[in-house]
């Protein structure tokens, strides 16, 4: 079984890209899994439209990527039980500190041309750890602006395959399908998270609402005098 993990901020066109993948890969036995926080109906839409096996999980108060790590083995087993030859997992990555990509399968990061020119820098591991980056909604901006977006992505992520598409028509997704076809079958016993997850064990996580570092313990940092640097970076 091959695996594709699709991540990107809300409403950039993840599901539309997945539809185009499903259409081009109709000879495969496809299973689709969606991880979202509170509400998702993509599984129902895709099941009705393409008659494929779909499922979903709500992360609730947990971060969706945390959820993805915890349940991924179960998801893979579910797909294998359904004799899938291709498993597509869509994640509603939210805080942009981490990414759901695994050491196996194809990680697809999605960014919309309409997100503005600085979005690629802000999206961190969701793009830097992706195998393929896709810019969507290219029909909504001028060619020059689309190229500026691609240039930014290229300068930041030189070694990643960057594709531009207007997902409605699915322009230039042929290359993505080739990458998926050429990807190796996954081995459930060797699958690991690609990046380092952020640490989330602190008094804020367990519900303490007081503001200010003196009121907390666990991972707490004082804002540096010049307001630069990360609050916490795995140190």
């Amino acid at each position: 079984m091959k695996l594709v993990l699709v991540a990107g901020p809300p409403s950039v066109g993840k599901t539309t890209i997945i539809k185009r993948i499903i259409e081009k890969m109709s000879h495969e036995n496809i299973c689709y899994f969606k991880i979202d926080v509170a509400k998702a109906n993509e599984d129902e839409i895709l099941r009705k439209e393409y008659n494929i096996k779909t499922n979903k999980a709500y992360s609730g108060d947990l971060c969706p990527d945390h959820t993805s790590v915890v349940i991924m083995k179960d998801v893979i087993e579910w797909a294998e039980q359904n004799d899938a030859s291709l498993l597509i997992v869509e994640s509603a990555g939210l805080c942009l500190r981490c990414s759901p990509y695994l050491t196996q399968g194809v990680g697809v990061g999605i960014v919309s041309c309409t997100s503005g020119i600085h979005a690629p820098e802000k999206m961190g591991p969701m793009l830097s750890l992706a195998d393929v980056i896709i810019t969507t909604r290219t029909d909504l901006v001028s060619q020059a602006e689309k190229e500026i977006m691609s240039q930014k992505l290229y300068e930041l992520y030189k070694n990643t395959l960057i594709l531009e598409t207007n997902a409605l028509q699915g322009y230039s997704l042929q290359k993505l399908n080739e990458v998926i076809k050429q990807s190796e079958e996954i081995d459930i016993n060797k699958v690991e998270l690609k990046g380092n997850p952020p640490v989330g064990t602190c008094t804020i996580c367990i519900g303490k609402k007081n503001v200010g570092w003196k009121n907390h313990y666990g991972i707490v940092r004082q804002m540096s005098k010049n307001f630069t640097g990360f609050i916490y970076r795995g140190d």
């Binding site: 901006v141 020059a144 602006e145 190229e147 500026i148 290229y154 960057i162 028509q169 230039s172």
Partner: protein, 267 residues
């Protein structure tokens, strides 16, 4: 760089094969694409921009033939892109100032000319009535200003052998000047247009209908003569528009006789 473009048939909106075997257009030609709205003009130019390989909705295959006779293979890198497309879209989303916009785009296209920002601005300002300054925000430019800037950008920065312009007549900019400049640039140009002056300006016309290329027409001798006359009427019309835009009253009647005899007419 290219000798000709070959278009292999795809499918129309009813999934029927397009009614031609293969269309070859030499790259020394200018081409207009005409047809009612919804007839597939935009899909066709998208196919050319992407050098479609049967992977778009239309399933057309486009081939660019190099001077050597070989088929051009695209590298996926922006700087190697042979096509520039100016869409009807004049919305800019990036919150950049004009000079940043031009210089980042020049970098993406591998253009290292130091004076590119200045040159691009000067050219854009010839097309539009309202002057663009280098520190204006892209997002605050008017439709005509953005279009002028993008066309100047296409001519100077992208400097690709193939240029596609989607309805240049729409933005109220100086289309006669643009067409003159482009003709001097020795590029292959596609005009998507509803304007007879633009359509008759080109060597070849592609007629679209129901998502398919219906036929290909070559400019006739009669059309050449007609075009020369139309240009004069169009100049009169542009002049009239400029005067009205600038708040002047028009004191002379329409110069029928001059128009009919093909003389230069002034407002």
């Amino acid at each position: 760089m290219f000798r000709e473009i070959i278009i292999n048939p795809g499918r129309d909106k009813n999934n029927q094969q397009e009614p031609y075997e293969k269309i070859c257009i030499p790259c020394s030609s200018t081409v207009s694409i005409v047809g009612p709205t919804g007839s597939g003009k935009t899909s066709f130019i998208n196919d050319i921009e992407l050098i479609a390989k049967g992977d778009t909705d239309t399933e057309r295959k486009i081939e660019f033939i190099l001077n050597s006779g070989e088929v051009f293979v695209s590298s996926n890198l922006t700087k190697d892109k042979p096509v520039v497309l100016i869409t009807q879209n004049t919305k800019c989303i990036s919150d950049l100032i004009v000079s940043e916009f031009i210089s980042i785009h020049a970098r993406s296209r591998g253009n290292i000319n130091k004076d590119i920002v200045e040159q691009c601005l000067n050219l854009a300002n010839q097309f539009t009535g309202e002057k663009i300054e280098r520190d204006y925000h892209i997002t605050s430019l008017s439709g005509g200003q953005t279009r002028s800037l993008l066309i100047a950008d296409a001519i100077l920065i992208s400097d690709s052998p193939i240029l596609i312009l989607d309805e240049i007549e729409n933005a109220g900019i100086n289309k006669a000047l643009i067409m003159d400049l482009i003709k001097k640039g020795k590029k292959m140009v596609f005009f998507v247009t509803h304007d007879p002056v633009v359509a008759l300006n080109t060597d070849v016309r592609i007629i679209m209908k129901n998502g398919a290329i219906q036929k290909l027409l070559t400019k006739t001798e009669t059309e050449k003569i007609l075009h020369e006359k139309l240009k004069k009427i169009d100049n009169y019309y542009s002049e009239l528009r400029e005067k009205i835009r600038n708040g002047l009253s028009i004191s002379s009647d329409l110069p029928y006789e001059k128009i009919l005899s093909g003389e230069e007419c002034q407002v």
